[in-house]
Amino acid sequence: MAKAKKHEDANREPFVRIVKKGTPSRKRSVAVRAGSLLAALLICSAYILIVGKGEISIGEALSQMWNGTFGIPGNERSMRIMMWDTAIYAAKLLCISVALTPAFKMKFWNIGAEGQVVIGGLATAIIMHDYAGSMSKPMMLVVMITVCIIAGAVWGIIPAVFKAYFGTNETLFTLMMNYVAMKIMDYFYNMWKGKLSALPTFDKETWFPSLLDHSYTWNIIIFVALAFIMYFYLKKTKHGYEISVIGDSANTARYAGINVKKVIIRTMAISGAICGLCGGLTVAAQNHSIAYSAEAVHTVTNGYGFTAIIVAWLANFNTIGMIFISLLILFLEKGTGQLGNSFPEFSVGAGNVMIGIVLFCIIGGAFFLNYRLVFCDAVKNIFRKKSAKGGAQNA
């Protein structure tokens, strides 16, 4: 008897089950994203109330975060400084995210952007340090750009070759390559530094030309342009089509006559090359120096090699959408930094926790893009009865 009852239970419809949906409509994806952000805002509000022991109001916190990212409204000087600063970092984050996109679309999990950026930056730095004054300025700039692209591409091709020919796990391979690149940069940093307390900036003659009073204006222009070029490359070219076919199914691609090995290696070369370019430009135009990995923030990458993975994924591989996601991340990063300056309760860690909460909400919310919850009939009936009652009353 008891056994029969149990059997009956097992056959009963589950309380809630999950059904996969097709491609989400634009309306739905906007609604889901907005819902995720709203949930994040609610949780963060509660968090700010707890951290600030009720003394920090949500509005004040938000306005502080705004000031920290875009400057104090009305104060032109503060706005100019903050906006330029936000723009360059957002552009850098955008560039790395754009670089990762073709690889990710191919389902090649390149989490080695950090290393590819570092090695590109190092290649440029070597030219700036050792060959300063040995060639004309335009020639110098061309060489600096070329070497960083080549270095990044090589760093990307190595794991790609092993993936293509031996099926080596690319996630773990590229992850390890990050640290190898960083240690190589440490080597040059310590060698050049010698007995000094910190590495001085490179010879001014080798710096990238400045524009509009900022040394890194060209970086912003190039990085944003890359986002549009990549959008076109993925949507409108044969290469882009091959990438998305491989991403959907490598077997289908092979059957359709696509040379999968070649595409994997070519795409990773592009991915690595753009990362390398980002590193090279950062060193040549923004930092004019390289960084030591034991410091709290690696100034060549700012840890964006990892953050970019999240950005690329959150933007659903839409390189233009990444502009907004990069700005959102920068708003969180710089905003929570500003909160820390204004309120002592809000330490560095507290800011990271808040970024984590927002990311979890968006990551978790993406579930509702692709899946739908279906409740069992009993629950449905309750809703149906309620709406019927409501309808009757209205009538």
Partner: protein, 336 residues
Amino acid sequence: MLSTVLSWIVRAILFGAVIMYGSLGETLTEKSGNMNLGTPGIMCIGGAFGFGCTYLYEMNIENPNPVLTIAIALFCAFFFSALAGMLFCFLTTTLRANQNVTGLAMTIFGTGLAKFFGTFIIPEGVVTVKATYANSLFCKTIPLDFGESTAAQIAEAFLCSHGFMLYLAIIIAVVMAFFLKKTKAGLNLRAVGENPATADAAGINVSKYKYLATSIGAGIAGLGGAYYILDYNYGGWSTGAAGGLQALGWLAVALVIFAVWRPINLIWGSFIFGLCYWLYNYIVVFGIKMTSAQSSLLEAVPYLVTIIVLIISSVHKKKENQPPSALGLAYFREER
């Protein structure tokens, strides 16, 4: 000369034991097909809460009980890390989010939470706080003296110059190896990691195994965090300690590959990683003098060795040396 080698061995074993916890947890997690790149963050959480709770206990009690001090540290580290593991599993298994993305977000979150929790404990204007009593308990070595001969001293360095956490790590490794190879639940777990669809068809509750393996795995990794703070870092907590712990967490992920997903290999693998890590400090043993710049190249050795192991195991294609084949993939029953 001998004393230098001995101190190298002792330091290598201590360092290895810390990352071994991270790797043990990650091995168990990856066996279920979940790749938790949040391990560095989770180790930070373990370190912060394990240290924090035992520190509060020791500060507020007149005569702290040794057993209770250790129990509080280990329990809190395990519990809060396991919670973080559960959150990871909820996002990746139930909500089917991408594991790499979730893991990296977990690293940001975990490191932040650790630093944030630390600021509650550290009084204003102080950089480091120390849990002196807990540290003395974690550092307590076995009081055995083997004698003065070279062999005896080496044996001493290997066997009894360490706190109890080293032996606990070895026990966990052996138990985990037995569990994975010899028990039915272990077989089920491996089936989930290799091919969840087949496991599901065989009547195994895939989600349950993923949740349990990921949570317990995260808990074990968290123990390593507490061990790092209370022994390796001489019982001191500072915001910088969280940064050091995070760097170590990535090595733990590397070690899992180095050991080709086998808990027993972790025991000697962690020792080799420890030797590699400290190589830059003890390279004089081989009669080589290095500048500080050159020694930073040596720090890349553990990562290079891991890459070589990864390549060799994929070129050889030996079945027993491969990562779990469903590693990193979300499973959805209605999808083929």
